[in-house]
Symmetry: C2
Subunit: 457 residues, 2 copies
């Protein structure tokens, strides 16, 4: 076996030609979406006014494992993929651990994260369908940037509803989106009924992803040749992200790397789903015993403290009902929480797998996360996104446990992005002014009170 280089780059020819649809391998499928008006499962027709047709097909496809990646999307991917699987030699040495640590690094593109994998696909399908316009929401800004890049490439108009506090804290993120030609509106705004309603109720709100989603959907369904696209949570988004896991598996197989632990941060769940998909299929069928770990912020503890329930995807309660782990669509993360991972729900596949025990979850407070982020930056040279740093923190903890026990485990984690637009948060951490927040049970109850009536037992 050849020595493992610092960075394993697959060639273009080795880049996967298929996305991996994990549902086709699951023993128990996630419950389908429910139409809140009828109480029935959603049909394709229910979803077409909101989403592109091909994406609806992907969302509803639970049988096909291999979904072909069109050449046009592969060409887009070739501008920044395959992404490297990095051996964290420096981190291993600094931690003095017997563990081998690898990370799949998705930050080497201008959007700064894995989000571009789905943005490229969604914009392509919109263009193919003859649409001229897309709307979306963005929180920390990674998704909005990614979609701006994809819409510039495919020549589509784009309106981005950006969570208000994020738009205020990150003017430079906004400037990147505008450089790529997107129209950026701070949410809640007075450009939609949903936004006006929320502003009337809570004029001083910081905004939330759920609220921005309501605004973006409203504009999409009331504008000709326009659809809404979402950057996480949904199954077709996780499908596109499976390029991460497929490349990781090819690289592991090529160098005979056998992961014992695979770790990903979890906000809406798409990067985690993408990273673990092919490995999880093998675990479900008894071919490995990998320890899968989802890591989330203690301030938005969807898996660790949420409920497995039917819930709306947005604050405005306009989406289908999704069976998922959720804090309630009315849950608003504390404004002291920096970065993304602030969504109230979780991808249905991840939720089902967590419910069945195939995945475990951990939550960290943000000072601990930033401590890990700064350590990692200084040792491995990459300044991570706060989101990604949740996975780093868990990986370091696992490696230190290996040091104690002497176990020579192989740890793989997803380094989903870079923190170049999160320097306000880093500066706060550096200055010692960053605060932690863990919601009380009473805080969480307020979110659960927003669950739909059928879940209010």
């Amino acid at each position: 076996m050849a020595t493992i280089p610092y960075k394993i780059y697959l060639s273009e020819d080795e880049m996967p030609r298929y996305w991996f649809n994990l549902r086709s391998k699951m023993k128990t499928l996630p419950e389908p979406f429910v139409n809140p008006a009828t109480g029935e499962y959603c049909t394709k027709e229910d979803l077409l006014p909101v989403f592109c047709e091909e994406l609806v097909d992907q969302e509803l496809n639970v049988t096909d494992t291999d979904i072909e990646i069109p050449d046009e999307i592969r060409d887009f991917y070739k501008m920044y993929r395959p992404s490297p699987l990095v051996r964290a030699y420096c981190l291993e040495k600094a931690l003095d651990t017997p563990a081998e640590i690898y990370y799949k690094y998705e930050g080497s593109n201008t959007s700064g994260s894995h989000k571009l994998n789905s943005a490229a696909a969604q914009a392509y399908y919109a263009k193919k369908q003859g649409l001229t316009c897309l709307t979306t929401e963005t929180g920390a800004g990674q998704w909005g940037t990614a979609l701006s890049m994809a819409c510039a490439y495919y020549n589509l108009d784009l309106t981005v509803y950006m969570v208000k506090i994020s738009a205020e804290q990150k003017p430079h993120r906004r400037a990147v989106m505008e450089t790529y030609g997107a129209k950026v509106i701070a949410s809640p705004s007075n450009t939609t009924n949903a936004g006006r309603k929320i502003l009337a109720e809570t004029p001083d709100t910081n905004g939330s992803l759920g609220c921005a989603i309501s605004e973006a959907i409203e504009v999409a369904v009331t504008t000709d040749q326009c659809r809404y696209v979402l950057g996480s949570v949904l199954n077709h988004v996780g499908l596109h992200q499976s390029i991460i896991g497929m490349e990781t598996k090819i690289a592991c197989d090529k160098y005979d790397i056998k992961p014992d632990i695979i770790i990903g941060c979890a906000g809406g769940g798409s990067n985690l789903l993408g990273l673990i998909a092919p490995f999880m299929a093998d675990k479900i069928h008894g071919e490995n015993d990998i320890d899968f770990v989802a890591v989330e912020p203690a301030s938005c503890p969807t898996l660790t403290r949420g409920r497995y329930a039917l819930d709306f995807g947005d604050t405005g309660k306009t989406t289908p009902l999704i069976k998922m782990y959720t804090l309630g669509s009315g849950f608003m993360p504390s404004p002291n929480h920096a970065g993304g991972l602030r969504y109230h729900g979780m991808n249905p596949i991840i939720s089902q797998l967590f419910h069945e025990g195939y995945i475990r979850a951990k939550a960290y407070v943000q000072n601990d996360v930033f401590e890990a982020a700064v350590k990692f930056a200084r040792i491995e040279g990459i300044l991570p996104a706060p989101e990604s740093a949740h996975a780093i923190k868990a990986a370091i903890d696992e490696a230190l446990t290996c040091k104690e026990t002497g176990a020579k485990k192989t740890i793989v984690f997803g380094l989903t992005g870079t923190g170049y637009f999160d320097m306000t948060a880093y500066a706060s951490y550096n200055a010692g002014t960053m605060t932690d927040y863990i919601p009380t049970d009473e805080d969480l109850q307020k979110g659960f009170d927003s669950l739909p009536e059928i879940e209010q037992k």
Copy 2:
């Protein structure tokens, strides 16, 4: 011949083991540094109080072609190198040009630029010499960030004097350096005699690289176990940057790519020197006829409108005299100029080659540069640094000329870095409020009046 992929990645094994010392191949050497006190050429002893010994040896070495890269530096390089040589398929298509366009992309590291190539080397040699502390200056912030990363890796204290206007415009750059543990001081400051003098004379100054250099040198020579390091201009910096050109040449040879034109932006000249070094050696000896192009801002036109003269490297006139193209150490670029490339002088090797006609130079105003930057970002997906966008502008112009003439030329340019910390400038361009500035002859004369007496003929 295999199809050329979008991104040519060399393997770690293919990464060069030697830097390329172009002076060993030159027919006429640049004039050595002159000690301003004695009028004699500088000796090694003159330079040792300021610089690390091994760097002084490299600075003075004009005979050895191959300078071995120590394993410790190669290990650092492996964290982010080899960097890709990218075939700009999308740009070629968008321009509808018969030209083939390639760019060597140095932005895939957290410092966001090629500067890390020399920072890694200089910090290593400082550590090896037993030093505990370094000082430097930074303008746009790329160099300061790169050196902060290297000093964190090698566990050295670092003080960065950051040009005042840049420190004000780029608080996030500053936060990155601080995250890596550096102490950042806006220059001119009251922490040095040089800074206090400039503040007394011009309290409202925006600062300049020349002034920040004076401050950093003063602290280095008056602090125990401390030396000063510079991010460009000097020959040893260009030597470290030759890793760019060496990798480019290996990739070109591997895929039978024969450049007709090689383009680089030129501030202090180190990235350009590094990119062209091995190709230029062949040109000097009649083995190719590549058209080498240096691109600079019209607001700081060192090559296109400067003088080839002995001049100080800093505003405080504390350095040796360097024979170079210069606008005079008293030249201050207009505050409307965004980004780097604002240094009054130019690397001596580049200066000598330009003087002999081996290189030609072009200057662009910044609105034209940003127009090219935005076009490139939307087409190729990478948001470039304003500095790098000078090379992009020239490459696009050359490709459009090929379209007119039908010439199927091969164009290679250096994409030195990313613009993630330049969004204030991009936002200004997007808003249409960016202004251009071309100094008048009278403006330039003020700079030339600051040249040392021996050049005031």
